[in-house]
C-alpha cells in the first residue's frame, strides 16, 4: 500500500464513508479510510431496525442497508479501505501512525485528514450507580452488538436505565428475541428519545416506562440479581421512601453518548466543552488547518442523514485543502448560541465558503417547549443589543431529544464581515 494519500479519513461509519466518497467526487485522487473493525459501516451495522435514510434515499431502510449503499458507492468511486487497523496518532504535519496484526506499524502521509471516529456510550462509572459489581451491567449499544452481530443474548430479565432511542429500541429487540424487559426507567420527567419509539418499541409490547425514576443500587454477587429503583424529586434527588427492589439478571444503560476524540485531542484540535467534539466551522474545518471533523465525533446527532451531509461537507473541504484550493482563513467569525439553547454547531463560520451553499445551523434546546419555539439569528456577538435580525423561524415544538435545524440563505449575510459574528436565540411560546 502506498505511503502518500491526498485525503485520509479515520472511521468508516456514515460520516467517514460520506467524507471519503465526497473527497473522490470532488477530485481527490488518493483517498483512504481506516477503521479498527474488520468491515466498514460503523455502528449502522448493529442498528438492524428500520428508520434510516428517509432524507438521503427517500426510503425507510434498516441501518445495515444504509451502510451498504454508501460502502458500494465508495468502493465504486475508488475509495481505498484499510480495515482491522488502529490509528495510534496523527501529527500536525499530517503523518498518521497505524498498527495492525498483518503489517505491524505503518506510517502514512496525508494531504488532509478527516476525523470521523463517532461517539462512545456513557458507562456505569460515569453515572456512579452504587452497589456491587457483578456481571450483567452493560451499555445498551454493547448489548445491541451482541444480539444483532454476534448472535448472543446477554440476559433473560432486563431493566433498562434511560429512555434514549437505543434503550427503547433494545427493549423491543430483546422482547422479540424472547427476553423479558420488566421496565424502562428515566431520570428526567420527559422521554429522552423520540415519541414514536415510545409507541412502537415500548407500548406495542406492554413494556412499562417510569419517568422521574432512577436506579439507586445494583444487587448481586457473581451476576446481577436485581436493582433498586427510586422515584426522584424536582431536583432529581432520589426519594428514599419510594425505593423498590426489581429482580432482574441484567441492567442496560442508555444514558447518553460522548463524541470520541482521543486522536483529535492528541493532534491538538480544540474541543467545545458543551459538545465534547471539535469546534468546527460550516465547512467541517477544526481549529487546526487541514484537519476536518464530521458526524458524532463533532456532536451527537439523532438522524444519520445529517451525519452523511456533514461528512460530505468535510470530505469536500479536505479535498480543496489538500489541493491547495481552500481559501485562506481570514474571514472566520464566531457563532454564539444563547439562553435556552444548550449547544449548537458550527461554532464558527467561514465567510469565503458561504457563497456556495446555504448555512446550516443545528442545535438542541435545554428543556421541552411543547407549545412552540421561535428561533432568531442576528448579526453581532454578545450583549443585549445585538445587531440586525437576519433570520427567524417558528417551530410547533422544540425538544432536547430532537435536533433543531435552521437553514439560512446566504444572501442574508451580505454584511457579516462588518458585524463580526452571529448570535442565535430561542423564545418559548406559551399556550
Amino acid at each position: 500500500m502506498q505511503r502518500r494519500w491526498d485525503v485520509v479519513v479515520i472511521g468508516t461509519g456514515p460520516a467517514g464513508l460520506a467524507a471519503a466518497l465526497s473527497a473522490r467526487e470532488h477530485g481527490a485522487r488518493e483517498v483512504l479510510v481506516i477503521d479498527r473493525e474488520p468491515e466498514p459501516g460503523g455502528i449502522l451495522l448493529q442498528c438492524v431496525h428500520n428508520g434510516f435514510g428517509l432524507e438521503t434515499f427517500r426510503e425507510d431502510l434498516p441501518g445495515p442497508s444504509y451502510a451498504q449503499r454508501y460502502i458500494d458507492l465508495a468502493e465504486k468511486a475508488g475509495v481505498r479501505f484499510l480495515m482491522d487497523s488502529m490509528v495510534l496518532s496523527v501529527s500536525r504535519d499530517f503523518r498518521i501512525l497505524i498498527s495492525n496484526s498483518q503489517q505491524g506499524i505503518l506510517e502514512f502521509q496525508a494531504g488532509a485528514v478527516v476525523f470521523a471516529m463517532g461517539c462512545r456510550e456513557r458507562s456505569r462509572a460515569q453515572i456512579r450507580i452504587p452497589g456491587t459489581r457483578p456481571a450483567g451491567v452493560y451499555t445498551a449499544g454493547t448489548a445491541q452488538r451482541w444480539v444483532n452481530m454476534e448472535g448472543l443474548m446477554p440476559g433473560k430479565r432486563f431493566v433498562i436505565l434511560g429512555s434514549g432511542d437505543i434503550g427503547m429500541i433494545m427493549a423491543r429487540r430483546l422482547t422479540l428475541e424472547g427476553a423479558e424487559v420488566v421496565r424502562v426507567v428515566e431520570l428526567m420527567p420527559y422521554l429522552s428519545g423520540l415519541s414514536r419509539n415510545l409507541v412502537q418499541c415500548l407500548q406495542d409490547y406492554d413494556i412499562p416506562l417510569f419517568l422521574s425514576h432512577t436506579v439507586t443500587n445494583v444487587l448481586g454477587n457473581n451476576r446481577v440479581s436485581g436493582v433498586e429503583v427510586c422515584a426522584v424529586d424536582a431536583q432529581l434527588h432520589p426519594i428514599r421512601e419510594s425505593a423498590e427492589i426489581i429482580p432482574c439478571d441484567t441492567l442496560l444503560l442508555s444514558v447518553g453518548l460522548i463524541p470520541e476524540n482521543e486522536l483529535s485531542l492528541k493532534t491538538g484540535v480544540l474541543l467545545d466543552p458543551l459538545t465534547g467534539g471539535p469546534m468546527t466551522d460550516n465547512t467541517g474545518a477544526t481549529s487546526l488547518e487541514g484537519f476536518f471533523a464530521a458526524g458524532n465525533a463533532v456532536h451527537v446527532y439523532d438522524l444519520v442523514d445529517y451525519v452523511s451531509q456533514a461528512g460530505q461537507a468535510a470530505g469536500k473541504s479536505a479535498t480543496l485543502f489538500a489541493a491547495g484550493k481552500l481559501p485562506a482563513r481570514a474571514d472566520v467569525f464566531p457563532v454564539r448560541y444563547e439562553g435556552a439553547i444548550r449547544y449548537g454547531v458550527p461554532q464558527r463560520i467561514s465567510c469565503s465558503s458561504l457563497a456556495e451553499e446555504p448555512l446550516v445551523l443545528q442545535m438542541r434546546v435545554r428543556q421541552p417547549m411543547e407549545d412552540g419555539a421561535e428561533f432568531f439569528v442576528s448579526a453581532g456577538i454578545g450583549g443585549e443589543a445585538t445587531g440586525e435580525l437576519l433570520f427567524k423561524r417558528k417551530f410547533p415544538y422544540a425538544r432536547p431529544g430532537e435536533m433543531v435545524t435552521l437553514t439560512v440563505q446566504t444572501s442574508a449575510f451580505a454584511s457579516l464581515k462588518e458585524c463580526g459574528g452571529l448570535t442565535v436565540r430561542v423564545k418559548e411560546e406559551t399556550a
Partner: protein, 127 residues
C-alpha cells in the same frame, strides 16, 4: 353507537404528533392534532389494521458473521409479529448473501417477504 375519542401517537415520522381520534365503532369520524395528511391515514390504519416494520436476524452458515440482519418488504400486521419472529428463528442461510435477497418468501401468507439487509461474505474472505 355513541362516538368514542381515542388518543394515539403517530409513528409515521420522527415528529410524533399526538392525535385525538373520534371513532364510531371501527369507523374514524375525525382526527385532531395531526400536522399533516399522513396523520389521518395513520389513525385510520392504526384502528382498522395496525401494521409495523419488523427487523431481526437469522443464523448464517459459513459466513463472515454468525448472523445476518433481515427486514420486511412491507409493514406486517401487528398481531402476526410474534409468529413472524418464530418463523425467522427457524431459518439458517448459507453465505454469501446479497442485500435484498429474499430469505423467506410470502411469510405467513402475508404477501410480505423477509429480505437481507446487507451483503454477507463467506467465511475467510475479508474486505
Amino acid at each position: 353507537m355513541k362516538p368514542v375519542e381515542k388518543e394515539l401517537i403517530c409513528v409515521t415520522c420522527p415528529r410524533g404528533c399526538r392525535l385525538r381520534v373520534l371513532t364510531d365503532g371501527d369507523k374514524v369520524l375525525e382526527v385532531f392534532g395531526n400536522n399533516c395528511k399522513r396523520g389521518a391515514s395513520y389513525a385510520e390504519m392504526e384502528l382498522r389494521d395496525p401494521r409495523r416494520m419488523v427487523a431481526s436476524t437469522v443464523r448464517v452458515c459459513n459466513g463472515e458473521r454468525p448472523v445476518l440482519p433481515v427486514t420486511l418488504s412491507a409493514p406486517i400486521q401487528k398481531r402476526l409479529i410474534r409468529q413472524l419472529l418464530r418463523e425467522i428463528s427457524t431459518v439458517t442461510v448459507e453465505a454469501p448473501v446479497k442485500m435484498g435477497d429474499v430469505i423467506i418468501q410470502n411469510v405467513l401468507n402475508s404477501g410480505i417477504n423477509v429480505v437481507a439487509s446487507r451483503n454477507l461474505k463467506s467465511a475467510g474472505k475479508t474486505h
